[in-house]
Amino acid sequence: MIRLLTANDTLTGDVIWWSGKGWSLNLADAVALGAEGDALLAEVVAAENVNDPNIIEAEAGSPPRPRTMRERIRGFGPTVRADLARAAAPHPDQTKAA
């Protein structure tokens, strides 16, 4: 498992991922955090420039596959609306009806 830093953009509410250089809308840009992760999170929390920052677990890959359904839904979009999928990759949990 790798660890990723995620949040919601304050202006738009969009789910965003820490890319190492800044925030990205695409889960595929998310970088695995090293030992600096917790300090980075503390910094981001204190700055209050983004909403609900959090570190989550994922399987490495391109894009990474977040461990929980909740984080996969944040990363890829609702499972029930294929037309609203977020990232370029196909949704791992999309329902047939979508």
Binding site: T10, L11, G13, N51, R67, R70, I73, R81
Partner: protein, 545 residues
Amino acid sequence: MYRYDQYDQALVDARVDEFRDQVKRRLAHEITEDQFKPLRLMNGLYLQLHAYMLRVAIPYGTLSGTQMRILGGIARKYDRGYGHFTTRQNIQYNWIKLEQAPDLLAELAAVEMHAIQTSGNCIRNISSDQFAGSAADEVADPRPYAELLRQWSSFHPEFSFLPRKFKIAVTASDHDRAAVKLHDIGLQLHRNAAGELGFRVFVGGGMGRTPFIAPVIREFIPVSQYLSYCEAILRVYNRYGRRDNIYKARIKILVHEIGAEEFTRQVEAEWALLEPLALDAPTAEYERIKAQFAPPAYDAAAPDSIDRSDPDFAVWVDHNVAAHKVPGYAIATISLKPVGGIPGDASAEQMELIADLAAKYSFDEIRVTHSQNLVLADVRKDQLHALWSALAAADLATPNLDLVTDIIACPGLDYCALANARSIPVAQSIAVRFANLDRQHDIGELKIKISGCINACGHHHAGHIGILGVDRKGEESYQLSLGGSGAEDTSLAKILGPGFSEEGVVDAVEKVIEAYRALRLNPQERFLDAYRRVGAEPFKEAVYG
């Protein structure tokens, strides 16, 4: 319907300006998120999984065609082309941008709408019977009283920071379409022996993690005094509600802990102090509001029969059309539950079409139901066929009201930050499994209600079959409950046994339904009645073997 006066409009306009300024200051980093969050929540703006979610109040579920058209336009302009009608008769948008929210609220304010008091520990949007004013079985129109409650509760300074949220429902029929016994206060309009109008007062119902059915605390309060009586209830709650524990802070816990009798005694004592203060609205104000709900210009010459020669239309009439109090008219329910669709979702185009149809066929008015459907409450019987044809062309004429595919589902994990599991895919899978209309009609009335977590926004406690999403070691899991009802025969569903996977719960529902078909006395015996007659055992046997 009620139109804003200058005071209503001034309040709502001022709120938009205030929020515009607050957003500006947040975006300029003049205030922190911690400072800003309560301000945006006071304007119905939540942060959910994918974006900001805006909850717009629809007072007692009533909308004009113009308002519905604007809701559709907002879906297109500020969201991703759709909105979600909820069990609280409101609409939620899922993809709102903070920077655009003030403009959106200004568009709402221009048509007398807002998102005030759709969040927070205050008196929330008043809900009511979606057939109000038109129902053949009501004693009087409950909407003027709901409207007065709206005015009384809007920005009520004493009740803006209650121990917890507070929900009031008003109805005027013995057949309860508003789940009044599952609200903090439920008000049922009825006549006493002398023929006077008043309310039966239920207090302390609710769902969530600790569901309760509200006891009656007063059999009759005259309509001229119900506001001061509600004030007394709120005062007792405000003083003694459990502010120390969020899970015990609802009025239902207070009523349960001290007992309905003691609670009633305290309310009566408080009311004895309040009543002489003349807090109730003067008669002239009642009359002013009542006049705004005067019946529309019904055509006394409208023929009182329906041409049923088109068989598909006849099926829709049998299931989605209800009796109206005026001969020649009918109440039509528009199903937002196409098989395989998302319960309660409507596209911008559908909203605009429904707005047009309301203008053409139903005196420009629309209702939202707590089961996430829409209603045109005043349709001429001789125009039902034309209405049905237009609805059918937009996938809005599914003849499934109160049937197995008319499922209530909260947004669940697909949207909601509090969810444990997804609700919508379960609703879709069940609907697809039972898509065959003959099978649905054979099963008869069956209300399935699904919540994605213990908060019970999807009313699973009140489902004939209730489904609750839970988190089982990081996996979505579903608990099945049977025997709930949100109608006049209110009951709380009981858990049947161990939980299931998503696919497993769909199979389990099918087993329950097949067991019911095998054991019902006759096709007229509803699932709920059969369950109440035989108990859980035969269903446990069918599901768990």
